[in-house]
Symmetry: C3
């Protein structure tokens, strides 16, 4: 016998009662994923005026436009931070102080935007100078997924430093979804950073990245064994990349003690779990591939036949 | 001489007449990609009430909210399934029975939601326990692309098992686009599944994955030679991963006969085309990389110069 | 002392004055990212009528529907191309001629749609024939991220050939964001192209790809050392892939002089920087992985313990 929609609803309600942990009921209001996403989009407009707007911004109107947008962002961000604090209050913060704390954190964060802009300017330079396919800085800012991803990471990092729960990660995952690159808000990233193509690149929470670091798609700056899971929380699990390092596509650098010395180059597809001194070049051993000609190939069992 | 828009339209219409196969005219109405996507979003709200909603859900209103949403989803899903059946009717189903069949399939599917919730609860646990960067289960559910991807796969898998055409794949590709991870709706995935970072990971149609399997970004559970293409349809082409296996970033496991025995660990970037017994550890041979110091490096030809 | 929102706005305005290069003020109106994205979506509807529409398209209405959509796309695309030309005028083009040039480029581009459709038809065939998981051509067109990505690349390539600034790259990055695959608009791609799973695959600007080329996720057709950055602009930096080549997941082929001869197969995870003759098979050397059993494994230091 088929159940009706009403019966199915009752079944699902019974499941809500029986299986907890993935419901969020009667609790505090969690920050809105959609709300945080819209705020992140508006913050990009504040960072790079005229690039993410649908109309030309004239200097004469810049003050009014900026003040209006700033005001709107400030109010909405404060609300989301308030919800985040309600959900996981910092130690020693009384409920009556949440609103004030959310207000203060919002203002402190907005006060960091000029600092973020200074870094972002260096990233735009690095992207343009580093990619022969880039036609102009404008193209880099409008079209490159990297610019959005790094701008969002640099802002989320500021919220992460203030121990704001949930919101940095929601922001970062929005950028991850759009760029294919997972830059954790915890990573400390120096100036003149550039990742070409982005897709598949992962930078872990406790990475330290110096200035003028250039990477490509599919690079992992990751932890060694993670079988200890939550017990590793707070430890430095991800590598340190010093200034002027280049890491080519698909290379993996692992471990919290691993330091890639300044000026080093890590070749494509290299898998590295140890530190290397400054100015090293690390490449895969040669002779890793076997090239068979047509005749040899015909002797192979079926799998790779033409 | 430049053609006018009218002339260009005529050219395009002539092309529709000449080049078939990528037109869909006069035929049945295909399921709407956009419609299926919205349904998938609402199904996520039914699975994890309060997490994907913009407002707090109170227990007192839960019954009404759930009933309303369930009713709306049921109607819309039935319509999309109806279109899918019209497009490719199951053997022996007469046209007059499509509506009834769509209704039945919809109810059967909705009846599986409590089962999907039970699995999803174990996935949330696995994600939280397995990732030292996770601050809370709430963060995992709200922010991790993995949770969306696995929830959608588990639902699409239920439709796949019922041989509903097109819709499971449209759902899965929506999640793929958002998470960067391609989990085919056909894959059978046990409880306590977790993929960290997701981006670049591919799980093929005929994979069997046990319980407590943990994977990372860029992992491929894929087929061996696919040169036979459509002739391989229906065969088991993808590997079997037994319980409590961990597969680190960038590893590739290939082939329908390949079985990774329970409790095994596959190291990062390993390329594996053979079975391994339970509790194996598979890593790449050492000495694969060559580290050159500054002096050696200066002797290299131009490519990797500093 | 906490700053007010007004004071923070003034700080940000001061930053706009101090840090240039990531502002776009008083200048010309850049093409709208959102506008270009909507146009790209409508162009997909023109290429494959009935597949990306929410309703059935009947032959009797096809002419009217196509003419209306074509007209709308022509007007909007002309506006975006006009903005792109304003931003970076082709040599020798006077300001008074921008509108006419934008009009002409738009018509020329729309005149290429039948040609793009012919190629796209061969891609749909290649995708269906090449993937045993594909149930039908319709599924391929509706659900596969590849079809969207290749359709957008083939259109963006036409604009690239006409030296339209910004727009081809904005289109391509939209597809990149949705598919996880970065196909540069500059790449010349033959007929019957297919990339399964897409995620992580990168095809560089100066690639030449023949007919009947099949690739998988995580493949990179990339440049060798890029340390020279902008100095390399215009050079052929990316490989040539001849007809009937298959490149399996995670393989990297590097360098502008590298030619993969026709009929060759490049195995998964291969890293290749040299040319190979026609009909070659290139695989990684065997014995790259070390399999330890449970006993050996217990002797290992902590990292990979069970």
């Amino acid at each position: 016998m088929k159940l009706t929609v009403t019966q199915l609803t009752d079944q699902l309600l019974a499941s809500y009662a029986r299986v907890g942990g993935i419901n969020h009921l009667d609790g505090v209001n969690l920050p809105s994923k959609n709300g945080v996403t819209l705020i992140a989009g508006d913050l990009l407009r504040l960072l790079c005026p005229g690039f993410f707007d649908e109309h030309v911004i004239h200097s004469s109107e810049l003050k009014v436009e900026t003040a209006t947008l700033m005001d709107s962002v400030a109010g909405r961000l404060e609300d989301e931070i308030y919800k985040a604090l309600e959900y996981r209050p910092p130690e020693g913060l009384a409920k009556k102080d949440f609103r004030g704390a959310a207000h203060g954190l919002t203002l402190e964060f907005l006060g960091k935007l000029p600092h973020v802009r200074e870094l972002l300017r260096t990233d735009a330079d690095a992207a343009f100078n580093g990619d022969p396919a880039a036609l102009s800085r404008e193209e880099v800012i409008v079209a490159y997924p990297f610019m959005e991803a790094v701008a969002v990471q640099r802002m989320a990092h500021q919220l992460y430093l203030k121990h704001v729960p949930l919101i940095p990660r929601i922001m970062a995952e929005w950028a991850h979804s759009r760029s294919g690159m997972d830059l954790h808000p915890g990573a400390r990233i120096g100036s003149h950073f550039f990742v070409d193509h982005c897709t598949g690149t992962v930078v872990g929470e406790t990475c330290l990245i110096g200035n003028h670091v250039k990477m490509y798609q599919g690079v992992g700056l990751v932890a060694k064994s993670l079988s200890a899971g939550q017990q590793l929380k707070g430890q430095k699990r991800h590598p340190t990349i010093e200034d002027h390092v280049t890491i080519y596509a698909g290379a993996t650098v692992m471990g919290g003690d691993t330091v890639i010395g300044e000026g080093s180059t890590i070749g494509a597809s290299v898998f590295l779990t140890q530190s290397v001194p400054p100015f090293s070049l690390v490449v895969n051993e040669e002779c890793r591939v076997k090239v068979m000609n047509k005749k040899d190939r015909e002797k192979q069992p079926g799998d790779f036949s033409i």
